[in-house]
Amino acid sequence: MEWGDLTEITLRSLAVSLSATGVAALIAMPFGAWLAIQPFRGRRWAIATLNALIGIPPVVVGLVVYLLLSRSGPFGVLGLLFTPWAMILAQVVVITPLIASLTHQTVRDLWLRYRDLLVSMNTTRRQRLAILLRDGQRGLMTAGLAGFGRAIGEVGAIMIVGGNIDHATRVLTTAITLETSKGNLWFAVALGAVLIALSLVVSLGAHALSRGERRAQW
């Protein structure tokens, strides 16, 4: 592998994991918030299941997505296996429960404090969600970052559904695995350093953005 590939791999890692985080957040945040304010039968059970899903092994997710996308699988015709799309899909599945659970916690805490006020003001469910998501934005950002951190560091699922194909689906984590097995330890370590730096940059960037937007509130 050439040093020039490093940029490509890094950018692919970022693109895949940021997309996965974005998609997962779009699913998980409204769902987590809804779970926090909506009383229904079996709510506790739903929350327990959600929390259990946080620990779902990525390899298993990879396997299931593989089966779904493989040529003989139900979505085989889409031809997504061994493309970045399959990797994004697998990562979405891996991190959605985590983001949803953290969102649920944040929104639940706020809801317990705001409930009387919001009920008294006769707010619609949509208005409640908007207020809770807005006031809980710091917690939501943490949830998003946690999801991104898990996605970008994940290797089991994307190895299976992406295939670690050079110039197609190779990302930082799968490259580290490959280089290590080839004995290119110095290169693997360099890739690891890039991976950590990336996490830091994204995290600091998100914090800086949110601070610029409004001053610290807690």
């Binding site: 006020l117 009920v119 008294s120 006769n122 208005q127 207020i131 807005r134 006031d135 001053r215 807690w218």
Partner: protein
């Protein structure tokens, strides 16, 4: 007119209110009095609809729409936003953007605070913001749960003036209070609570001149 008939509110076997049997023809300010834990907050919440009776019935002769009611909580609840956004919240929820807050800010002396983050306010300041937010919709029915418990004398006087003029203008006010002097100054009617049980309503003047049996012990100690 509102009529409560044998209303009980219990939670996990614990009595919050009951038996509450009251027929009130609210005019001006109706004070809700009673010792700590007697159920004043629960009673107000029940009238407002925040608490549903476990048993018994509550009936209004003319239902007052939720958007025509406001409730000021004993502990102010403010959003993590600016004072301005907090005060304007009820209007924003009704689709009114950038309302003019000059008048309400003057009334509650909030002009210097409008740009501040609500979480940074002192207890008394937060209480004034919560009141401005409750008042901004010109409610027909206003619930105040110990509105001046956190306020200094000057601010209490200010708030009492506002309550009085609001009641004169036709808003019906239910307020709980620990200050008998304040109730004497403001209220036309008194409902007394003791361990969840309601007594009254009494004409306020009569209540203080010749306290009913149930309220006597409570009247004797303290202010």
């Amino acid at each position: 007119m509102v009529r409560l008939d044998q209303v009980w509110i219990t939670r996990a076997g614990h009595r919050l209110l009951g038996p509450a049997t009251v027929t009130a023809h609210p005019r001006g300010v109706t004070a809700v009095l009673g010792p700590n834990g007697s159920g004043k907050t629960t009673f107000l919440r029940c009238l407002h609809g925040l608490e549903a009776p476990t048993s018994g019935t509550i009936e209004w002769d003319a239902e007052i729409a939720p958007q025509d009611q406001s409730f000021v909580f004993q502990k102010p609840v403010l959003l993590r936003q600016t004072v301005r956004e907090n005060v304007a919240l009820p209007l924003k929820l009704r689709g009114i953007k950038d309302p003019d807050l000059t008048e309400i800010a003057n009334t509650f002396e909030l002009n210097a605070l409008l740009g501040r983050a609500a979480v940074d306010l002192s207890g008394g300041e937060a209480q004034r913001v919560a009141m401005a937010r409750a008042w901004i919709t010109n409610p027909v029915l206003l619930f105040l749960d110990e509105p001046t418990a956190n306020l200094d004398q000057a601010t209490t006087a200010l708030v009492e003036t506002v309550i009085r003029s609001t009641a004169r203008a036709g808003t019906r006010v239910f307020m709980s209070s620990h200050s008998r002097a304040q109730v004497k100054r403001l209220a036309q009617d008194v409902i007394f609570l003791d361990a969840g049980r309601t007594f009254g309503p009494y004409d306020a003047q009569e209540f203080f001149e010749n306290p009913p049996q149930a309220a006597r012990t409570w009247m004797e100690d303290g202010t």
